[in-house]
Symmetry: D3
Subunit: 238 residues, 6 copies
């Protein structure tokens, strides 16, 4: 089997992380994974939601697609007066993933909101949001350090994500829309710098899958995430 | 480590499936898993949403908690004018799981909506909804058969679900709220009668987890799901 | 004229009140009146809405039908983003009725919310909600007494409700859906232990009615309410 | 006991019905009952809602208060994104009352919507809406006759409404806000030209009431409604 | 060219301002401009929104059309759960215009909300709202003076508004609906007592317009506004 | 007076138009005016809204700011369940402006929606949206031509926009946020290739303004728009 874009089965699409894309946000990154483009902006507010214990901070995420991010224009959420169920599901995943990167006590009583707005979607928008969102979050934390608002870097783990899937019974890494839309099985992994899992979501859309297929997909993701973590480090050092 | 309710680490809570709990629904089941109680009602409508191809049917789910299903009363969604993000996430999971049980062409151009309303919640409400929801769905399909509306049973797989988690570094099956609220890792599995995966969602809420820990949790779930599938068969035959 | 279920014109459907149906609520009752089933849960919160005078408490109610409580599935309020006008009307009636049972000063600065969720509806859901809701309210007040939060029982009246209607020009007590849907006149009464009126709502859906017909319907209701009050007392003592 | 405005216990406030207040509506009436002012506009549309049987028409009502109709400004429904529960309850009452005036087959497959917008509220806005709304409805039907759209007048009954209440244990007709806000019992009647009841709603806000008190209040209403029906006839003939 | 109602090209429709139309509002005016009728009520609240600096007051406006203000009935905003975009645009214009009339420090820490509800619309409803709204605002400020709540009149400018348009290439003042609906260019002016501009909105709906045409329309508006300011003064003195 | 960025009083900020920024939209442009960045995407749909006459097309616009486009993060519309009044006002302006560019009969029975999403806002976002939106619209029409869906180019005028304002009594062209936030008068012009006006909106936020000041501001805008039209032509030819 040959992939339409000529990639090997375990090869990522070209990834590009542009730092400080927007000048007002405390952390801002434009991430491109192939034709998927997501703007990730981290905003710091000096207060926390009611459910957060005293002395702790909070990290949360919002996810949205611009109306024409896709092949067909979709109506805005505000036009339908409903957050799409898909967006609700995805932004909860991003929020959980990014919280795993942070020491909430070191963050102090403030909230960092990471807005992930998809400018162009070609598969893998949720995992690109996690990968880009982590860099935006890290930049915002660096700014808190530089301003003396926190004494210890709240970032305690590095976090990145990618998807893998089974297409025509072949496991493939990092599916674009054309592959994703006919995948039999689809799996997203969020991992940290130790190669351990933070989040794992697998769906048998076309057929059920065995435990050993699931393992194979996680291994593919682990390989891709290793490369993404390296790219994050380079842009944060650059 | 001893569990508060005296169960073995790989033991399910007592499960009870009451068929035909509500008399108007085409399929109705009240499922109790320990202190978790969910009413699952399957309703048949003779039309499909616009995105479904001609000649095919559709299966979807809605999930909601009654305001006082929990230790604290929560405001109704309609009072806040927003479907809770958690409910949105869960009902998408249930819908995908139940669709995996059905041959949509055999179902014909109709929609089965499975409403899962949590009367009392003590952990595992989403997996109880899948397990109970499958039985409601199967009863509704049986009714379609009996009425001659379908000639072939649309049910092609049996589907059930359970959760497992790591508490104090010990993997445990089927967490009640008291365990779930302090779990370090939480994983939900949906499987079919072949022991293959349909859906898999793992979250490292307290710490990251290794691939081998993840496997152990899936194995625990597989054991529990085997027992749940047996209970489903018994109630459907009864 | 013979009634479909063989009852006398002034006979109630079988009534069953199950105490402590849900374990988290301060007061919980499942009421069955024939095929109508309503779960009534009373929740105590230690604050009052802004319009309540200092030193007083508040009692309010919310009413909702599960989507498949009826012969046809109905869409959830949150799906339509609107509380149904019928539900709004009914929950205001239940709230006013239950407030008449309570000494708000004795209750102190707290709110009791009685959630009435119809699991199955076969006529008379609003009056069943009042009758069952009163028991849930009384149980919650008893709990406040037991915990020493109030020194005097806030319950000063017992309250129950039933409907009567004119079908084929014959006055009948406690209409199920089959009778209700073709009733010419429909009347709901809420009364207390003295046989006095708290709420009275009569509607000439099919034709106008005379003052003497109205009286006859109130007398029928008074008979039925007497029996319901007795059942409430028995379950509260049991 | 003397009433603040010097009226006898069974005397209506001055009533004024101004026909054709708005020139675009098919039927338009401004009704003043003392300081209560309601604009009632009837609009005809050549279609019916889905639940109406073929060949029949429909009559419905909407009720709203302008933000400064009362002593305090209230926020608009659209600002809160919720129809007030009180408005929902009231517009259902008005709709049922006006439907009782009409032969829906004679009306044909069209809908008449009667909008009742309270410009100034001083008690009795719902009953003023019924009384004024009937005249707007009758004018709209007359217009349908004049245009030859219906051959038989759809109006088969005349309908009017008023309230009565018990204040300081004295039954009084037609309560303004100052009396209504301290009434112990409050009762609204809708009657037709035969003096028969269409709708009856009684509430013991301050205390329970006996069947004989209830009768006395209905008798007071019957007297007032007789006078309102006469005023309606005069303005329709004028 | 002759206008349908016989007016000269630079002649206003008859204007009538009725003071104290509603008795509860701090300032109330019913304004009629030909067949356009708007009820303008000013309400004072002793607090300000968060964005207002300490020691300053705020003036804001809300604008709405009754459902049957126009030739066709339109659905209420609350029925659609959306404030119409047109209403949003207009109420922002009215708010900005009225704020220009007021010294916000002299007003003190309070908000005046001017509700403009269109009872009948025949063109020029937004400008009638500004002209009538100013009088309601001035009456409310006068009341604050009389009650000693402010020591200096917060009104520092007089503000009125009118529209002009180009119909069949002829500039005309104060367009009713029949002219407005076929105008090629439409321009609204808000001016003060010095004949200076506060707000200016011109739209080439049918064709573009030159700077000199625009000037001609502003001159027409200036003439009309001069007459409206005179009418405002007379009603405020009367 | 010297401007903070060293520009002459009648000088535009640097403008950059990037064609085909998004690959799915029929027309896509990223416009930068100084630090203001707006993504304008034109989408074609083969149907029109109900109010559009047969045989005609429609052009409409939507405008939104990303949450962190500004110095402070703002909540998303969907979070507040309300389209911001400012966005509603602006998108109506953009829609009217772009419709003036098009022959709706030549467009045929289709709708072009131009989405203007502000990625970064530093003043002038609404005029940048018109200027960039026109190019996106023209690209979409060119695509319709290329595909043979229309035979005649629906674009009949070229449209661009800019703002001017009075700061410290000095008229200045193209205000960034720092100037805009302390402008006494603010005026937006939309013009076509003939230098004629399409839309004109002037606001005296800090003080009223004379007719001759207004003229001076329009002349400044005319100069700037001339340069913007030239840039549009170059990018459309490039």
């Amino acid at each position: 089997m040959t992939r339409a874009d000529g990639r090997a089965f375990d090869q990522l699409r070209p990834v590009e992380l542009t730092k400080d894309y927007i000048k007002f946000a405390e952390g801002s990154v434009l991430i491109r994974c192939g034709d998927t483009v997501v703007l990730c902006n981290a905003s710091v507010e000096e207060k926390t939601p009611p459910h957060v214990p005293e002395g702790h901070g909070w990290v949360t995420a919002e996810y949205s697609m611009l109306p024409r991010a896709n092949r067909e224009r979709s109506r805005r959420d505000i036009d339908k007066l409903k957050l799409s169920g898909r967006s609700a599901e995805i932004q909860r995943l991003i929020g959980r993933s990014l919280r795993a990167a942070v020491d909430r006590e070191a963050l102090g009583e403030r909230t960092i909101t990471v807005d992930c707005d998809v400018l162009q979607g070609d598969g893998g928008t949720r995992t690109a949001s996690v990968t880009g969102g982590f860099v935006a979050l890290a930049l915002a934390c660096r700014k808190l350090m530089a301003e003396g608002k926190v004494t210890k870097n709240p970032i305690i783990h590095q976090v990145a994500a990618v998807s893998a899937g089974i297409v025509d019974d072949v496991p493939l890494l990092d599916l674009p829309y054309a592959e994703d839309s006919r995948a039999q099985v689809d799996l997203n992994c969020v991992m940290n710098e130790k190669g351990e899992l933070i989040e794992l979501q697998g769906t048998g859309e076309g057929r059920s899958f065995t435990l050993s297929e699931q393992q194979e997909l996680v291994r593919l993701c682990a390989k891709g995430i290793g490369e993404l973590l390296e790219k994050q480090r380079r842009v944060l050092q650059g």
